[in-house]
Amino acid sequence: MAACTTLEPMVNATAELAAPQEFDSAVACHRAQIFRFLLSSTRDVDLAETLTQDCLLKAHRNWSTFRGESSVLTWLMRIAINLQKDHWRNRRLQFWRQTQTNAVDLDEASEWLPSGERSAEQCILAKEQVAHVWRAVENLSERQRTVFLLRFVEELDLKQIADVTGMGEGTVKAHLSRALARVRKQLGEKQ
């Protein structure tokens, strides 16, 4: 990922030369990020993988129409968010089908921490914090969750989030502020 500047805008001149190998490099660059975003949104590994594949397939089909008005990542993220919305809409319509999801339990999701130089106590504290953030994220609205994850997991700035979600920057800021208020409240409750 280091060799790839994730948010580098693709200028029109480059877009005209958009070739299959460029698509390959874009996929290599952003696949992990798209998967991570979808995984954190759904907490369902299989669903995140399926949606990532669908996203890349759709991007591949429409690669020739990509005009480079936004960065590749923004474009891919927009596709991913739309696919995710479509998925939940379809699930709601198909409520008579299997209603359970394969979403991972919050406690299980909180177990993951990078292996680093942490003491056992620090590890426990970190896991507790992560669990509280997950709990707050679960209670956010769909938009708040999307904005929150794009900001604090994917580290996009407000303008990029606005581009990805199609919302105004002010709206993004308001959603983010409310999401943070929830996380603060959740972290405050633990004390």
Binding site: R36, W112, L113, P114, V133, R151, V153, S177, R178, L180
Partner: protein, 142 residues
């Protein structure tokens, strides 16, 4: 821009990027955790189970169809037998009723004949003039 969006834009002017140390630390841990999870899931070994399932799919369908057909044909056969039995029962009851009524009619006829025999007597010849007088008296009274 709809009303909801306007409301959101006029939300309290709090900078969402301004984080206190504890929140910053929690969000940092959250990001690291999601990162670690995502990395682990991307590189995990995949299991393929589809083959075993598909080989059983056809027999399952055949078995399902056979059970369904057996149930339906069993039901139809049972229904047919019930109808036949009901018809036979009805015929038997009708025959019994016919025999009973014939027997009752015969008995009544026999009884009447017996009563006739018991009541009807030949009038003795010595009383014939008296009997004719009784007939005349009746005619005069009228």
């Amino acid at each position: 821009m709809n009303r909801r969006e306007e409301d959101l834009q006029h939300a309290p002017d709090h900078d969402p990027l301004e984080l206190e140390p504890e929140l910053r630390e929690a969000l940092g841990n959250f990001k690291s955790s999601v990162n670690a999870w995502s990395e682990a899931m991307m590189h995990r070994p995949r299991e393929i189970k589809a083959q075993a399932r598909s080989s059983w799919a056809a027999p399952k369908w055949a078995l399902g169809c056979a059970v369904f057909l057996a149930t339906v044909s069993g039901g139809v056969y049972q229904n047919h037998r019930h109808l036949e039995a009901a018809k036979a029962q009805t015929a038997r009851i009708a025959e019994q009723q016919r025999l009973q009524s014939a027997q009752r009619a015969q008995e009544e006829a026999d009884l009447l004949a017996k009563v006739d025999n018991d009541i009807a007597r030949q009038v003795p010849s010595a009383l014939e003039p008296l009997a004719s007088l009784m007939d005349d008296n009746q005619n005069i009274g009228n």
